[in-house]
Amino acid sequence: MINLVWGLVFVLLAPAIGGLIAGIDRKISARMQGRLGPSIFQPFWDVGKLFEKENAVVNETQIFYAICYVIFMAFTGALFFAGGDLLLVVFALTLAQIFLVLGAYSANSPYSYIGAERELLQIMAYEPMVILTAVGMYAATKSFNVSDIAATTTPVILLIPGIFLGFLYVLTIKLRKSPFDISMSHHAHQEIVKGVTTEFSGPSLGWIEITHWYETVFLLGFVWLFFGFSPVIAAIAVIVVYLFELFIDNTNARVKWQLAVKSSWAIAAVMGILNLAALYFLNGGIS
């Protein structure tokens, strides 16, 4: 069931893989904009630089929340890759995100406050779809355990295509890509200064970057689950999905938070519920 080795492998290797993905992301984004772009190792240099800077913090609790954010995100991913319960993974993910919000709220800054509020709205926007994804996985494979879902021979994607599309929609929010990068954005995109991370600087900002790498690897692992029946197709799907997100990021302007929340919920309600209902009737009820 739970394989601790894979959890440990995730904790140790995910920052390296996530950082490389972020580097390739920046390179491809630059090419899409007709620029040369930085080296694919640039994210590592950025984080290395942040750890060389002075640790100027607003208050001590802020560092505590930043560290909690890393720990719980690493825990989320480790639990996922160890083959744990998908529902627990989803809850741990929310908890990790809440620590980032608390960190932003702990500093007395209007930009940080707006960022924290928007981060909460984003959590509200994606949470229903993420939970429906977990439920959909159960409906398709009769198990909430990642180890069972990954090992299944059922073509999960064919049973829950609607849920997959809904998940893709909220993945844009989770990866902090346009049009849904309303609480904080990467690279040179600016929004309300720097949203949730406005008041973080130096090493604590470095930790938040590393957390984002953990999160990226974990989310791409989630995409993998839909195609778990064939590792080759799954690997291709993960790459295609990420390139698709990059394309969306570079071709869309940022939307208002109202649209982000409404559309995510509408997608969750239509795609998620309809897909589950169809599965229910086809199976003659959830057994």
Binding site: R26, A30, Q33, G34, R35, L36, G37, P38, S39, Q42, W45, D46, G48, K49, F51, E52, K53, E54, N55, A56, H187, A188, Q190, V193, K194, T197, T198, E199, F200, S201, G202, L205
Partner: protein
């Protein structure tokens, strides 16, 4: 070389500039010059920035703002004064409301000449600033080590008894 020189993040502030230099600063970000290929990012946040790029001269309205932005930046940091107005006040030097260049308020490390200065000279100024950033980092580390050593030396009990002169 440390990581600092490979990933300089910039905060750009327009202190009463005519916008000529600002447009040239932004031109550095376009596909033509693409400074992001050196890891240079224009952040909007002093707390994330390493290099403070200021255009225009100091007047009573922006004196506090420039100082505030400088104080919010985590050390080590450098200041690049872009354009002749930021350097000395330029043609506005004699104006009743202009105090002069940026160095009237905060220490400036690199002066970039020109009216408006060319993107090439701005990039050159920032590359020069990277060397200074490196020096400041080395000095910061040495100072921190010296302070730590000093503190340890002061706390050691046998050291205190030997120098106390009570024997």
């Amino acid at each position: 070389m440390t990581y600092l020189a490979k990933s300089p993040w910039i905060i750009h502030y327009d202190a009463s500039s005519c916008n000529g230099c600002d447009i040239e600063v932004l031109a550095c970000l376009t596909p033509m010059y693409d400074v992001e290929r050196f890891g240079i990012i224009n952040t909007g946040n002093p707390k994330h920035a390493d290099i403070f790029v200021v255009t225009g001269s100091i007047n009573e309205q922006n004196r506090e703002v420039v100082k505030n932005i400088y104080d919010q930046m985590p050390r080590p940091n450098v200041v690049v004064a872009v354009g002749i107005c930021a350097t000395s006040g330029g043609v506005f030097r004699e104006c009743y409301n202009v105090a002069g260049g940026i160095d009237k308020v905060i220490p400036v490390d690199v002066y970039v000449m020109g009216c408006a200065c060319r993107p090439e000279s701005i990039i050159d100024g920032i590359v020069t600033a990277l060397g200074i950033l490196e020096e400041k980092r080395t000095k910061m580390v040495l100072d921190a080590d010296a302070e730590k050593e000093h503190r340890h030396a002061g706390l050691r009990p046998e050291h205190i008894s030997q120098t106390g002169g009570a024997h």
